[in-house]
Symmetry: C2
Subunit: 91 residues, 2 copies
Amino acid sequence: MTLWVETIGFTAAALTTLSFVPQVVRTLRTRDTRAISLWMYALFSAGVALWGLYGLLIGSWPVIVANAITLVLASIVLWHKLCETPESPSG
Amino acid sequence: MTLWVETIGFTAAALTTLSFVPQVVRTLRTRDTRAISLWMYALFSAGVALWGLYGLLIGSWPVIVANAITLVLASIVLWHKLCETPESPSG
């Protein structure tokens, strides 16, 4: 694989992982999670945890590290969503 | 690679891709994107597009298909966030 193809892969991984930072910052700052879907963050966090497990099983450190960081960030948003006072519509 | 390791990988991919469905449903239903970070969806969509390009370059159909679906879903949320009336705080 050429270097620029690998660079595209690493850039993609960095963007999808670090994209959750502004969401975490916004959630911590505003404590507003009403527009955020509980199911999205529950399913996404489960998926990212499985990606991390997959990384462990195939021995891929980039997969493990990227998904560990994403799991921490997504879990912060999920936690705040779970602490939200009940309101409707849910989803 | 054993079958169950591949199954974990496919399950992880399915969960992280399909997790955006409930967010899209909620956003289309409520038209509320205030708690959602514009920067998250901008960076995430760019990252997913690069993942798709990476899949094309390495000839991996699962990477292409999973990221194409995710890009469509994330773009719907991003579009509604961009159409949101101005308010503060942004992020």
